[in-house]
Symmetry: C2
Subunit: 358 residues, 2 copies
């Protein structure tokens, strides 16, 4: 079957138009920033890393040594004190969740635009303070939902919006990874409630199917029911959700059934069944893998393959263009708060075994 939809396998459905280059301070230099973000920025014209901020002197020195554009390595105290404040225009916050707020407050205080990793913070209350800090300082805030700039995911949204599968009826989303094989240390911050928030799987992974469903449906959830489970042991004794399964209700009787786990096979899938067809993205949420879209309708089936995408390159390019051009930011603070409230409701609904209204 022919799909009369822009699929974006070889080109974006948007292009940066603003002049200039956005200079970024990268706050938090863990493996994600070093291995995913800095290489992506080195490849961009409208955005580059000029400052690295870390509590580790070794990490910040290495980043300055390794990346020509990074001129300053700052400690968190130096960053908070405004050192090298003229060397960057915007801040990317990629620390453990519960440390986002102070860094965003610092950035906003200096009038810098903010790209904040997901989830925005560890609790709704802290996320609201984070959003207020940016609003009060009148600085742009974007949450790092990289599925919103992922080509395959954007194609899923177009397929749904253009009615290829009819009216959306039911969504299934799954994301899991074996965290103990990815990090050596059971005291890793994603499993530490003081740093990660109320849990490990919904906060870190649940945001993918939640936000992707919202993005694709262009709708926000109105209710949630959920269950969580942890087997305990060295890795999962501090979090309730080694595994979590939850159900989001959207307007017009549309539901999303989502499962996530930090201790299962490394896989993901996102699927929308409509009245006239279905679309499935596999694995979808992992940017470093080939991504396969299946579209099936009464007219037939077709499969579209996407090469592994540099998701960080896409999101930084988008963010820089939005900030440089003074354009509106779809995934802004208010948008992110909807996810924060949904995540908190998932834990509450799992705990008290009732459906929670949002």
């Amino acid at each position: 079957m022919d799909l009369d939809v822009h699929l974006g396998t070889d080109e974006r459905d948007w292009e940066p138009t603003a002049d200039g280059t956005l200079r970024m301070a990268i706050v938090g230099l863990g493996w994600w920033s070093r291995e995913r973000v800095l290489p992506a920025l080195a490849d961009l014209e409208n955005c580059r890393a000029t400052v690295g901020v870390s509590g580790s002197a070794a990490k910040r020195e290495r980043v300055v040594a390794d990346w020509a554009s990074v001129e300053h390595g700052l400690s968190y105290d130096e960053f908070a004190a405004g050192e090298a404040v003229d060397a960057y225009d915007a801040v990317y916050v990629c620390t453990p969740n519960a440390l986002h707020l102070p860094h965003v407050e610092t950035a906003a205080g200096f009038g810098k635009a903010v790209l904040c990793e997901k989830p925005m913070e560890a609790t709704v209350e802290r996320a609201e303070r984070l959003v207020s800090a940016c609003e009060d300082a009148d600085v742009p805030l974007m949450v790092g939902y990289r599925m919103q700039t992922d080509r395959a995911c954007r194609a899923v949204r177009r397929i749904v919006r253009e009615g290829v599968v009819g009216d959306p009826v039911q969504v299934h989303g799954h994301m899991s990874q074996p965290i103990a094989e990815m990090f050596d240390d059971p005291s890793h911050w994603r499993l530490e409630p003081d740093l990660a928030g109320p849990g490990a799987s919904v906060t870190d992974l649940g945001v993918y199917p939640i936000n992707t469903t919202r993005f694709v449906l262009d709708a926000d959830p109105v209710a949630v029911s959920a269950s969580t489970w942890s087997g305990g042991g060295e890795w999962f004794d501090r979090v309730p959700d080694e595994r979590a399964s939850f159900q989001l209700s959207f307007p017009d009787g549309v539901t999303a059934l989502c499962s996530v786990s930090q201790n299962a096979y490394h896989t993901a899938e996102f699927r929308v069944v409509g009245t006239e067809g279905e679309v499935r993205m596999r694995p979808g949420f992992f940017g470093d893998r080939e991504n396969e879209l299946l579209v099936a309708t009464t007219e037939g089936e077709t499969t579209v393959t996407y090469e592994p995408a540099d998701q960080m390159r896409e999101i930084f390019c988008f963010f820089a263009d939005r900030v440089l051009g003074g354009k509106t930011i779809p995934a802004d603070g208010e948008h992110g708060l909807v996810d924060m409230r949904a995540v908190e409701a998932v834990y509450a609904a799992a705990e008290d075994a009732t459906r929670h209204q949002l």
Copy 2:
């Protein structure tokens, strides 16, 4: 990757061993019996249709005329009165759900084995009476879960049981069909609570992912949460579940997220994610389509294709062998009651927005 598992693409993992031929009375001669059951039986050695029972003289006359083995066409009254009772050994009940009980009571009273379509009855209370009738008369009862004799589904079970995907973690199941395109009449019995039971989608379709999950995991659900939705109108004004989404909790933190709809694209899928891999069956629940199994582990991925299977041939062959050989029946009345209770709990949980223990 090589799968060291019996896949059953070209042969069963069981074979009938009992001598003889089971003679069946087919009770209810709707399209399913006429188009799916009678052709399947004509193709079997250990089972054949000898009696057709229907309220419609035209239907029973047509069946006697069309199928050489069918010697008697009976009205429901004639069947209840024991006419031609020596011409059959067992009864297949394929009437609207709420009419199963009296026919099973009749069959049990005559000492006949019973193969009863799913769901067993319209309510748990009536299903319990149905099971008691067979127990009291000491006649074999099997519920018509044809996924349990489907080759692809049996392969999924073996893959899970033999640990190919590690420990099961999360299951997703979906089944939907556009009922208004399948039947001309909005007063069709599946949409009529007096005949179908508490709803249309969970009773008729929900049983597939529920029972298949139980079959594959070899476990029974312990809790359920759910939501249902109906858009009303001519087709769906009498049922709460034009669409339903529900979550079953199984022991050891395993969950199944299921969605069903009588008014969506004709599709289905069943997927198990484990600690070490995943297996997906698509479409799984529809016997008349090619069925694709995907197995993915850290060792690689493989796809196995099953030709469209005659599900009714398989289940009747299995049933006949069990009855003729006096063998135990896995999908017996007690087994079926677990599904009946789960279905009733889905509607209750959707109604009161709480998780129900089973």
